[in-house]
Symmetry: C2
Subunit: 404 residues, 2 copies
DNA sequence: CGGCATTTGTTGACCCATTGAACTTATGCT
DNA sequence: AGCATAAGTTCAATGGGTCAACAAATGCCG
């Protein structure tokens, strides 16, 4: 399995110094441990990286001293020879925090270096109508308490990822229509909470972070489709979210699926969003427009009850989704679709038709089957994905966390 | 302007040695010279890269010895102080060769380190019906003669890029329907020509290489749409062609644009290809199916003559293209479309409608205008793009070309 | 039970690339 | 002519990886 990923120090355009060698090789050694199933020996690190045993040893020494690795029991050696000392990622040493601010809940997740969830909290409640300052203060308190709790358990949080349901540019939330927020300096406001003041904060779109939460060793490239009132996609290529030239990539909702379809709020005709978005689904299913309550819940209930109008609406949505996704998969050459957001709950009714239509549509379905499945995470998805991102970055630049 | 690009030595997963430092910094220094408008001094290289003047000097010394750089006249210094020695890419030293094998012509282009065309030859002639062995032998001879000619002018060709109109996987041409070729070992056959035997040969899809030929310092991310009987796209992101997980990315032709459209040979309904491909265009325009002669020529003639059926057909194609491209631009967050292949010739009739429809469709057209324009290159596009790719790779790993 | 092969991890001399500071070279300005 | 200024070079110092030898810890076999 290729270690892959990227961005291990030595950015292009930057000069390489001796220190860069160290940084690169530290990350390399650390990644071997992170990607391995069980404990790993120094000799195995040397073999896997191509470095000398001598170098591997010194690197491991530094990582141990920095609290990133931990020695475990001896490894069971197959043949004869001196037994190896096992090395694993240090649990409970360093970790990452993810904080999600969404329309009807706030969520926080803390993970350790292994990516395991240490701590999670979801705070339900409709945030619409509240000012951004108030909501962000609540979120900041939530994060601060999680931070304190994590600290109490001996976990140093290395950074925080904030997920928001809107367009992010240079760390600022440009607009979040569903919250009614425009041009909010999210990190700035969060940092007013004293215990967050010094933290390394990064902000990204909620769908991107949710997509990241679905990355596994086996599934590293896929399209994460988030179906809510709007329809968005997180494009994940080899474990990395593709953001496009301006960070606006993944606008699946405004892919045209029917030139004869209804007019969208964007002005065009037959966008996926107006055909298969939750509002359209609810209307086509003949359900009353739900106030406050998420559309997904009502739809799922109706589908479970076997309501024929709802079934027909879901069928039509699946066909439209297949058209849009077929185009996207052809363009990007990706083989897997993960249904997230409200689509995850509706997956049992969407997947069969969607899969069938995609198979009919995709040029390469004769060679490789397209895979469509529901997201595995609920509302904690984005905060988990954010927290994992922090950890991934940590693993790729460990030098920042070594005591000097 | 960011130097960007990528892949300057030190691949992820590989250990970093002292030599890697050298390699990285050599490429860095070389890129400064390559990206600069005029000659550059050692001191400027040092300043631009962040390296010491001492290091910059030794790097330049190596690049001079390797024939990659050349000293020019002194630079006009603005103030006082010792005048600087100018450095430029060595013209006529190392270069790259691009060879295109297409349905109705063969083409070869040789460029020097600066990307300037040194030599070009196009051999017209329908290749259909001929066996791959025969065609490839002709192509090999063409390349060999270009190689000899270049050699005579003192140019060392560092590598060769072969462009083919079909699906490439691991260097093999899996299938090229328009040529009727299936599973051809292109490099293997080409290497039977003695003077090509030792060359570094790489193979890629013709549309990808044509797309590369449109990359400039100002335009580094765009969608290159190649309209022939099929419709393909080369996705260029920050100067690099995006290939997808299996190398099949850019299949724009089978993006669905009309659920009520005609059935495509892929089995689906309303693919872009059956609505706006050349065959469809010719048919809708009421022109006789042209034998041998490229469809594009007949269409352009009819359009120039003001034939109303042709105008209507082009208008309809532009609308369909806008639907497909709107989706693609939304997904990828790219702002520019370059029309290539036969679309380039038809651009005057396509661009106005296409631009208008895209502006109506794109969410961000209020902030930034989408740009649609015709490709600047004719049949030499792919071979030029291929040759440039060779040079780009050369510039990113200069250590391979330094005498030891 | 003892010697031996085998593998792990460590030590120290060596190599090599970048740094930093001093130095030389070549020009413009006064 | 003298001085300021900037370009390019030299050389000892720094630091990181390699290499080979070695010590440590185990299994195997006689």
């Amino acid at each position: 399995m290729p270690a892959s990923r990227s961005a291990t120090s030595l950015g292009p355009g930057l000069p390489a110094r001796q220190q860069s060698l160290r940084d690169h090789n530290l990350a390399l050694a650390l990644r071997v441990v992170a990607d391995a199933a069980g404990p790993v020996s120094r000799a195995q690190i040397a073999a896997a990286t191509g470095l000398t045993r001598a170098t591997a040893s010194t690197l491991v020494e530094l990582l141990l001293a920095g609290g990133l690795l931990r020695e475990t029991a001896l490894l069971a050696t197959p043949g004869s020879g001196r037994p190896a000392v096992g090395l694993t990622l240090a649990p409970g040493g360093l970790g990452g925090l993810g904080l999600e601010i969404n329309v009807d809940y706030l969520a926080v997740t803390v993970v350790d270096l292994t990516g395991e969830v240490v701590l999670r909290e979801v705070l339900d409640g409709d945030q619409r109508g509240l000012s951004s300052a108030v909501v962000l203060q609540t979120a900041a308190r939530l994060a601060a308490s999680a931070l304190a709790e994590a600290h109490e358990r001996g976990l140093r949080v290395a950074g925080t990822a904030v997920s928001v349901p809107g367009l992010v540019r240079d760390g600022r939330l440009v607009r979040a229509p569903n919250l009614g927020w425009y041009d909010v300096d999210v990190p700035g406001v969060l940092r007013r909470e004293p215990s967050l003041a010094a933290l390394d904060l990064s902000v990204d779109n909620e769908a991107n972070d949710a997509a990241r939460s679905e990355v596994t060793a086996l599934l590293r490239s896929f399209l994460f489709v988030s179906g809510e009132i709007g329809v968005g996609a997180g494009i994940v290529l080899d474990g990395v979210v593709f953001r496009g030239t301006r960070g606006w990539a993944g606008e699946l909702g405004h892919v045209g699926v029917d030139p004869a379809g209804p007019v969208c709020r964007c002005g065009a005709r037959g966008c996926l969003e107006v055909v298969a978005g939750l509002e359209a689904l609810t209307r086509t299913a003949g359900l009353a427009p739900t106030q406050g309550l998420p559309h997904g819940v009502a739809l799922r209930a109706a589908a479970e009850a076997g309501d024929p109008a709802t079934s027909a609406a879901l069928e039509a949505a699946a066909v439209a989704l297949a058209t849009a996704l077929g185009g996207a998969l052809h363009l990007l050459d990706v083989g897997t679709v993960v249904l997230g957001g409200a689509y995850a709950q509706l997956a049992p009714w969407l997947v069969p038709t969607l899969t069938r239509c995609l198979q009919e549509r995709l040029l390469w379905s004769g060679w490789e089957r397209p895979v469509v499945r529901a997201a595995t995470r609920g509302p904690e998805a984005a905060s988990l994905g954010g927290a994992r991102t922090v950890v991934t970055r940590l693993l790729s630049e460990p030098e920042r966390w070594l005591v000097t």
